[in-house]
């Protein structure tokens, strides 16, 4: 395609065309500008969410309900129809142009930069370098670009994601541009003025950079638009075959999975359309038409630019007016001639190459940005600045900490063995002291170095993980609802007991005033830091699976399952939904949400609770419709994680972005019920631990780190001893892991 864009440059054809209106330039520029505008503002123009399914739609024309897929122009509100899941094709298309064009522009710029470098060197330097580069160009030109891209993407897309597309489309795609530039450089090299400059003493490098390249750079923008269309053709071809960006494997059952799209993209629309070509060809037609128009626009723009370039070289004024204009232009030009020539000689190469590099860098940055985790700085603070104040880091149970854990492959810094099994995980105070309780009734404080600071035997049988109050006091619940309050120096301050001996249900949480809240099988209770019971209310619901008590960021409400109670008196104030699975959660950004089986909703508390759906996902597509989420959380950037684990299934973690699209699904193969989600750190790394069960003799404790929104493992650590994890905590550069066997491990990056 690049060839054809420039093929008749030397045929003399353009002299005949110079008198004709340059309509390809105008039509091409209009189409290209429209496409780029669509890429910029398309998502805002989308009438519907591109990912929201509509399983049944009311057709106001026929006064009947219809099921998707919908052909174009049949149902009002869906002008281009809808796919098999009822997602609006127009909205998908408007969202899809942007990511595709960013990829295509990036690849075109890289291809051109590589082609320019190799082509210029091959054209300028004879001898071995030139021959070697000639061979390289010939080799790259031989296989079809689509086949090469297909091979690269097939091998690497699972690990490199979009990087595989960039590599696959570039690895041989540069050759056409290189071949043309090589020819151009050879023509320039034969010009007499080059000989003259050489005779004046210029070396080959100066000749190439200051005199050769500027002559070839006139073609760069023509080549760029041609590269855009040829890259898009190959990208679309890959899409038609089933490869597109943001692809994810969605597990369907225990041992099967489905390739699915993460976000709307033109190639993805083609892939979906190709799968339904015989049942719903309009999907393929809609996406194909868009590809056709983009390619046509850029082809015409390339043709128009080429004609303009040739005309500028051969234009001779014919009319009197034309001659007068030409004379004026010449006069003006001559005055600026010396500066222009100097500028051209010194800066035009740098400016053009700089623009190309800027295009490549900008495209790369946008693509990279769309994949990486961006954590904002706004997040809830832990009273007392403790590093890990409760079982789930904070009273809001976000499992998110602003500190950075062991980002690289860790080793065991130290380990500590207790006399009895641990009742839960560790907590870490602001000074780095680690507190743990064991089932023997001992609370232990360890220094950050691993040395024991103190131990205290308590008259309660500890349950779960302790909680740190703002002043450093440690609150620990017993199995029958009693609570021990221990000073940071290891003295028992209070032992709080109540008339009820109901079993303890949750870990305690503490607010900024030091008030501690917890739930037993009978009561929701509040205890002051002085050990006085402030209030006790009957437990608001008996419907729970993995009971967690959370405190709202402002400290006004307590969330237990889908019930919100006031912290002042413990009375239930909002009973939100009829769905027993729904839970109130608090994000690391401080926002309260209602997390359900297939949606995350924001909450506005007033006289009535206002629930607004924020993120929705498809549990059928994700294969989670029959699974109950054990926990969920929101990162400061709004990204959602849902953790599925239970006593009868392997654990699974799903990342959903703010558009409701699943970004990654992490399947854990650890022993059922052993997977412990420890938390997410400030760099967006997620830490999990579990026990790998191979056979009765081979069971090993493992921990892994994944980047947020990604499935690839950053590191995996296998412990030398077997163990069943019961909890963990993150501290700067450290991951603490407690096992049921009474061992505490400290993993740290060396």
């Amino acid at each position: 395609m690049v060839e054809s864009a420039l093929s008749d440059t030397n045929t003399g054809l353009d002299a005949t065309r110079s008198r004709a209106r340059n309509w390809p330039l105008w039509i091409g520029a209009t189409l290209a500008a429209f496409i780029l505008l669509l890429a910029a503002v398309g998502p805002w123009l989308a009438p519907l969410s591109p990912t929201t399914p509509h399983y049944i739609i009311y057709n106001s024309v026929t006064k009947a309900f219809v099921k998707p897929p919908l052909p174009p122009f049949t149902v009002p509100g869906f002008p281009l129809g809808a796919d098999g899941m009822g997602r609006d094709l127009l909205s998908q298309l408007l969202w899809a142009v942007r990511p595709t064009m960013i990829l295509v522009l990036l690849v075109a710029a890289i291809r051109l930069l590589v082609g320019l470098t190799i082509g210029a060197l091959a054209g300028w330097w004879p001898g071995r370098i030139g021959t070697a580069l000639d061979l390289l160009i010939a080799l790259a030109l031989t296989p079809p670009v689509l086949l090469v891209a297909l091979c690269v993407v097939a091998a690497l897309s699972i690990t490199w994601g979009m990087g595989a597309f960039v590599l696959g489309l570039t690895i041989t795609g540069w050759a056409e541009a290189a071949s043309l530039l090589r020819t151009q450089m050879r023509l320039v090299k034969g010009e007499p003025y080059i000989e003259a400059v050489r005779a004046l003493g210029a070396n080959e490098g100066q000749l190439l950079l200051r005199h050769g390249l500027p002559q070839a750079l006139g073609l760069i923008w023509i080549l760029l638009v041609s590269e855009v269309s040829s890259t898009l053709m190959v990208t679309a071809g890959l899409g038609f075959l089933g490869y597109y960006m943001h692809v994810i494997w969605v597990p369907l059952e225990d041992w099967s999975a489905l390739r699915s799209s993460g976000r709307p993209e033109l190639a993805q629309l083609l892939a979906t359309g190709a799968g339904q070509a015989y049942q719903q060809p309009w999907q393929l037609l809609v996406a194909g038409s868009c590809i056709f128009l983009i390619v046509l626009g850029f082809n015409l723009l390339g043709e128009g630019l080429r004609r303009r370039h040739t005309r500028q070289q051969s234009r001779q004024p014919r009319t009197r007016l034309g001659k007068a204009v030409a004379a004026t232009r010449l006069a003006v030009t001559e005055r600026a001639q010396s500066q222009a020539v100097t500028w051209q000689r010194n800066w035009s190469t740098s400016a053009t190459l700089g623009a190309l590099m800027a295009l490549a860098l900008a495209g790369g940055a946008i693509l990279w940005q769309s994949q990486r985790t961006t954590l904002t700085t706004g997040f809830i603070a832990v009273p007392g600045d403790h590093l890990w104040a409760t079982a789930r880091h904070d009273a809001q149970a976000t499992r998110w900490t602003p500190t950075v854990g062991p980002a690289q492959e860790p080793t065991i810094a130290w380990q500590w063995q207790a006399d009895a099994d641990f009742s839960g995980g560790p907590v870490v105070a602001a000074d780095g002291t680690v507190y743990l309780a064991d089932r023997g009734g001992t609370l232990t404080a360890l220094l950050p170095t691993g040395a024991m600071r103190w131990q205290i035997a308590l008259a309660v049988q500890p349950v779960g993980t302790p909680t740190l109050l703002p002043d450093g006091t440690i609150a620990l619940l017993g199995s029958q609802g009693e609570m021990a309050l221990v000073t940071p120096t290891g003295q028992l301050r209070h032992l709080v007991t109540t008339a009820s001996t109901a079993k303890t249900l949750t870990n305690p949480v503490a607010d900024a005033n030091g008030t501690i809240y917890y739930v037993t099988e009978e009561h929701l209770a509040a205890v002051s830091s002085g050990g006085a019971v402030i209030w006790q209310q009957r437990i608001p619901t008996y419907s729970y699976i993995d009971p967690v008590l959370r405190l709202s960021e402002d400290g006004q409400r307590l969330y237990f399952e889908d019930i919100a109670s006031s912290t002042s008196a413990g009375k239930a104030i909002y009973a939100a939904t009829k769905e027993p699975i729904d839970k109130f959660i608090v994000g690391a950004n401080g926002q309260s949400y209602l997390a359900g089986q297939a949606a995350l909703a924001t909450l506005a508390f007033g006289e009535q609770l206002l629930v607004t759906p924020l993120i929705q996902w498809d549990p059928i597509l994700l294969g989670t419709s029959v699974r109950l989420p054990q926990d969920a959380g929101v990162l400061p950037d709004g990204r959602l994680w849902i953790f599925y684990a239970g006593g009868f299934e392997y654990a699974k973690l799903i990342w959903v972005n703010t558009s409701g699209q699943p970004e990654a699904i992490v399947d854990y193969t650890w022993e059922v019920d052993s997977t412990q989600l420890i938390g997410v750190d400030g760099q967006g790394l997620l830490y999990t631990c579990g026990r790998q069960y191979t056979n009765r003799r081979e069971q090993r404790l493992e921990c892994m780190a994944h980047a947020a929104g990604a499935r690839t493992v950053r590191w995996k650590f296998i412990f030398p001893e077997n163990g069943f994890p019961v909890g963990g905590a993150l501290a700067p550069g450290r991951l603490y892991v407690a096992t049921a066997e009474g061992r505490l491990y400290t993993l740290a990056t060396p």
């Binding site: 093929s7 075959l241 390739r259 015989y278 393929l284």
Partner: protein, 327 residues
């Protein structure tokens, strides 16, 4: 010429062997990457040395054993690839010949003689033709057929077969879809060359001697531009080989392109068994090596033939330092 041919013939077996080795090793490495990153297939990863694997494969290859498909029938891979290759070759040659005839005719007649210039209808036609993806034309055809069937009623049958293989009407849709882009590309290029040739003095001389314009176009003008046209045709054929993967997939043509699509694209659904290679062809090393080897042979033959024909048409090409390898 002879030296060039001998060099080509000597290098070709080495290139084919290198492609075979690369394809085999690539498939194994890619498969390992897939298995390592997919929890469903991790158990199937092997740790055997790649070179050892290839050595064994090569030894079997020398004995004429290309391996068997991992199916119950255990179909020989060599036979399958050869059979698919012949089906693709037939489709490719028919599409190529028709597109060349069409492209040349449009190109030659798209060049006006007095004054020498392009016919006004040619540039838009070429621009649209070159921007039309093959699967898009295919989808258009399918949509039209679907509409026809919907309107004709349940008793009707499609006027053209849209799926499957046959050296009959089955060829019509795949060939029609395949030939559009190469024909448009060749027409554009031919017209450009023809216009520039029509401006030359020998054309004026021939015309002044009373030769008819069509004779000048087809005999003298075309005779002088054969060399660049042959190189463009070779490039078009290469484009067709790429497009073949898409078109064969769309129309279910059981050729080499379809085989490559199956080998290089995972199924939309995967299971533990399929990822371990029990029933899937995805990244099957023996199959991929055989298919890519055949593609390499075809490309080499095409490249050599095009370069030789171009040199025959224009002996200056053999002496030129530029563009000798191009095509």
């Amino acid at each position: 010429m002879l030296r060039y041919l001998s060099w080509r013939l000597a290098a070709s077996p080495l290139i084919v062997l290198a492609v075979n080795a690369l394809a085999f090793l690539y498939a194994h490495i890619a498969l390992r990457v897939q298995l390592a990153n997919n929890p469903y297939g991790a158990a199937g990863a092997d740790e055997v040395s790649l070179w050892g694997l290839y050595g064994g494969y090569l030894a079997r290859l020398v004995q004429g054993d290309w391996g068997v498909m991992p199916t119950v029938a255990q179909e020989p891979i060599g036979q399958l690839v050869l059979q698919s290759g012949l089906r693709s070759l037939g489709l490719l040659l028919i599409a190529f010949l028709l597109s060349m005839i069409l492209g040349l005719s449009i190109g030659v007649y798209g060049a006006r003689y007095l004054p020498p210039r392009l016919a006004p209808w040619l540039p838009p036609l070429a621009a649209v033709g070159q921007a039309l993806p093959s699967y898009y034309i295919g989808a258009l055809a399918l949509a039209l057929l679907l509409r026809y069937l919907t309107q004709a009623g349940p008793e009707s049958t499609a006027p053209l077969p849209v799926q499957g293989f046959g050296w009959d009407r089955h060829l019509i849709l795949p060939v029609a879809v395949l030939l559009v882009r190469p024909a448009a590309q060749l027409a554009h290029f031919t017209a450009g060359l023809t216009v520039s040739e029509l401006e030359r003095l020998y054309v004026t001389a021939a015309r002044s001697r009373g030769l008819p314009v069509h004779l000048i176009r087809w005999k003298h003008v075309l005779g002088n531009v054969w060399a660049p046209l042959l190189l463009t045709m070779a490039a078009s054929l290469r484009l067709l080989i790429g497009e073949l993967i898409l078109v064969e997939k769309l129309f279910g043509w059981p050729g080499l392109g379809s085989l490559l699509a199956t080998t290089l694209v995972p199924p939309q659904t995967a299971s533990l068994g399929s990822l371990q290679g029990a029933v899937s062809y995805f990244l099957l090393p023996e199959l991929l090596a055989a298919a890519l080897t055949l593609v390499a042979v075809a490309l080499l033959a095409l490249d050599t033939a095009a370069a030789l024909l171009a040199r025959l048409a224009d002996p200056r090409l053999g002496r030129a330092t530029t563009g000798a390898t191009y095509g």
